[in-house]
Symmetry: C2
Subunit: 168 residues, 2 copies
DNA sequence: GCCTCCAGGTTCGGTCACTGAACCGACGCT
DNA sequence: AGCGTCGGTTCAGTGACCGAACCTGGAGGC
């Protein structure tokens, strides 16, 4: 564990955070958890990362208190749900600078139906930092190019953190 | 580049962002850039990461438009400065859950002298999302355990993005 | 009971990125 | 010329990531 994972010598909260969520695939796992993915095989189908890596990451996320495992389902803890602003702002930043074709997903304030702004607020409602439980994911037609069963299920509009909508 | 760096198949802004800032050390480089570090040797002294890795990361960050290189100094571009909320919230999250001893640094709204809140706002001034240029870093005495020249220089209170305050 | 299927992993070579130390060239100073 | 520093590059060794194959425990059928 002396190589590749930790940032010994960096006595810094940012480094501590990155030791937990900074490894390859980890933030994409958390993204999918917000979108409602809960089961090992569903993460696997949607991420196509090696099974061993997924297994390891899920385990360390559970150990770090970001996820809990119950009855074969991984769900975000309160600590994990606090990562929402980071996940959202990363997506905003990536969208602004590195995806010319526009967004693949739009996040809508469930109570009023308007998309939230780049800061994560709902201007009409005056709600700053809309929590993930009050958000719906809408997929922009033709923009999500993935075609696994999980991606298809995630395409129907649904609330964040709710379990994967349709299961065949 | 087929392994380890990109997330081919993830047609997602978050994945795009992580391809740029998601690699090991990258976000710590950006953190230091916000704190005023600009020169290769200063990043090196403060991060103790391999020179080759630092060299590579700085290069890809310049290529991605996050940093610019002029006269041997790396500075954050506008796009790079937009990463501030992410860096700040990562630090907040890491501090809340993984550093029991309390913060090593406090960020103060320069205009009024009060520390900003966990969301990055200044409640007394009513300023939401205080921009990095309006923030001062104050180091909590006895909490920053590093003792390289750069760490010492960074300990004196200074504004974000201003070049390294004292140079011996 | 026994067989089959499937979800949820673990194991196993091979490859690639990270690591630390050594080396290199350009520049400034004496 | 000789020395020091800055900003890298090169290089052998090692650990993490990769994909594919294999294992295991429980559910369902017969």
């Amino acid at each position: 564990m002396a190589l590749g994972k930790d940032y010994a010598g960096q006595n810094c909260s940012i480094a501590r955070a990155l030791e937990v969520v900074g490894e390859r695939w980890t933030l994409l796992i958390i993204r999918d958890a917000f979108f409602g993915v809960r089961r090992f095989s569903d993460f696997l189908a949607h991420l196509d990362c090696p099974r061993a890596v997924l297994s390891g990451r899920l385990q360390t996320l559970v150990e770090s208190g970001v996820l809990t495992k119950r009855l074969g389902e991984y769900t975000l803890t309160e600590s994990g749900r606090e990562l929402w602003p980071i996940v959202y702002m990363l997506g905003q930043w990536g969208g602004r600078h590195f995806s010319a074709d526009g967004p693949t997903r739009v996040l809508v304030h469930a109570e009023c139906g308007t998309p939230i702004d780049p800061a994560g607020d709902c201007p009409p409602c005056g709600v700053p930092g809309v929590p993930p439980t009050d958000l719906e994911v809408h997929t922009v037609p033709g923009r999500d190019l993935r075609d696994d069963p999980v991606a298809r299920a995630l395409r129907s509009p649904h609330r964040l953190l709710e379990p994967l909508p349709v299961r065949p």
